[in-house]
């Protein structure tokens, strides 16, 4: 009985690892399987491996264009929202002023917005400004979820910093602004990095706005390009899966490199909240 109880968690964890990683493994294996074999009964171990699908992806479908678009849009969104959001989050976490609870509630409320609720006016405004199918036309809508996310995460990080350091700096006559620049910012670099990574992930993965505000392949982001993949006669599964692997690669690399930090950021924002 006791032994059985001890084995249950281990088995559950093993099942979790297999279930979590198998679909990704399967996509990766299928993306290097010849097209003809993809439509036979599947076998778990790969046979002959080919790079055909990847070659077709970049040579025929110019998949580097959506990659470039996604990098530009997600990068600009991240840069802007982290730099503007850091100031706001610092004030909310550390400075004394009235109206703080209200502002936090407002930020939280906006982060709960269903995106579809603002697609129609954004489309009309962006069209009037001739920003449909442009980079700014995506970055601006992306700020609706990126700003609240960065503010929310950074408030959590700034609160964890020891208050004594700031007090010491202030006693030495450094003003708030200098304290922020010289004490707080360097100390919170890990927090800023985590926030930037998470913001980048959300922007890289975003679909609804990108689908609504782009018109053609020259401005599609990676998720839109993949979702709208069409073959001439049948579903080009090989190329789709190769594209899926390419779309997942940067995300997977970030997760691999920063997994501990990401878990901290995610759970701190939600559980502490």
């Amino acid at each position: 009985m006791r032994r059985a109880v001890r084995w249950v968690p281990a088995l559950a964890v093993a099942a979790l690892v297999v279930a979590g990683l198998f679909p990704i493994y399967w996509a990766a294996v299928s993306s290097v399987t010849p097209e003809s074999r993809l439509f036979q009964t599947p076998s778990l171990v790969p046979g002959r491996l080919v790079a055909d699908h990847y070659r077709a992806l970049f040579e025929q479908r110019n998949f580097w264009i959506p990659i470039r678009n996604s990098l530009v849009v997600a990068g600009a969104t991240t840069l802007f929202s982290v730099s503007v959001g850091a100031l706001c989050a610092y004030a909310l976490a550390r400075l004394r002023f009235r109206g703080k609870p209200l502002i936090l509630a407002f930020v939280l409320a906006v982060s709960m917005f269903p995106q579809i609720a603002i697609v129609s006016p954004l489309f009309i405004v962006l069209r009037r400004l001739h920003l449909i199918n442009t980079y700014p036309g995506l970055v601006l809508p992306y700020l609706t979820f990126a700003m609240p996310l960065t503010i929310w995460l950074l408030v959590g990080f700034f609160r964890q910093l020891p208050a004594e350091l700031e007090e010491a700096a202030m006693m030495d006559g450094a003003g708030r602004l200098r304290t922020f620049r010289e004490i707080i910012l360097p100390l919170s670099l890990p927090g800023l990095a985590t926030t930037a990574i998470l913001t980048f992930l959300y922007s890289w993965n975003e679909f609804l706005f990108a689908l609504s505000f782009t018109l053609g392949p020259e401005r599609y982001t990676v998720p839109v390009a993949i979702a709208l993949f069409r073959g001439q006669y049948q579903v080009p599964w090989g190329q789709i899966l190769a594209a899926a692997v390419v779309a997942t690669a940067p995300v997977a690399l970030l997760v691999l490199a920063f997994q501990r930090r990401i878990v901290q950021g995610l759970t701190a924002g939600a559980v502490k909240g």
Binding site: P9, L122, N205
Partner: protein, 305 residues
Amino acid sequence: MRRRERRSGAERREARLAWAFVLPALGVVALVAFVPLVGTFWESLHLHDLRMPWLGRPFVGLANYAEALGDARFWSALAHTAAFTVVSVAIELSLGLALALALNAAYRGRGLVRLAVLLPWAIPTVVCALLWRFMFDSESGVANAILAAVGVVPRGFVWFIRPLAAWVPIVLADVWKTTPFVALLLLAGLQNIDPALYEAAMMDGARAGRRFTEITLPLLQPAILVALIFRTLDAFRVFDLIYVLTGGGPGTSTEPISLLTFNALLQDLRFGYGSALSMIVFLVTFLLALGYIRVLGASLTGEER
């Protein structure tokens, strides 16, 4: 007395700096999120069809809302969304809780577990949808092959042409992508519980089942609530997953409310009607979120004062 005045001067300076820090970010959020929301409401009161510009944009009051409420497709989309939300969130929470308990008890392979948890969460939803579509493909799908081998479905079973069966890959994909995240949240909650409580309960002779219901569940309640509300709001606005997996088909039998709204806006270009649908989605989410802010906002602002 003089000291007090000087301090309040410093306080005023601090408040001024705080507003200087806060306003740019708040201005941006208001401009890109709040103003458009008012715009959606305003649009929803008009007849605005981008394919028929000669009609202009006449004010029609609540006619768009009346049309939505009288449309069977709207009600079935709402029902699909509600059913999807209830079913997937129920599975994700109970499975997530079980996994969190297992993770809390297990010692080995933490790194691998973290990876298996984070990867599904981090990959684009569009990619997730494609993976599951591929696995449930009638000819070459590996899930199909396994299910046929076990005898659950006949060989070559086509999931995506059946109104009910088409939901299976959708729910599974959602569970696969989000359960790990729920488990992670609950695990963080579990690790906050003081182990001394369990030791004391063991000394008093409380059995495992009782320790779970008397200590774990009550103390985990805040984390469970957070996960519940997060997931509910997320599931209610499901779009990417279904757009790619079934496109709302067969017919409109897997169409959620956000897809119906998207089609009204960007396929039919009926901006007035689509905006009314958007407002309805917003209102429902808002009501759900009110609960969230009640629970979380209270504890958050309480911490500061």
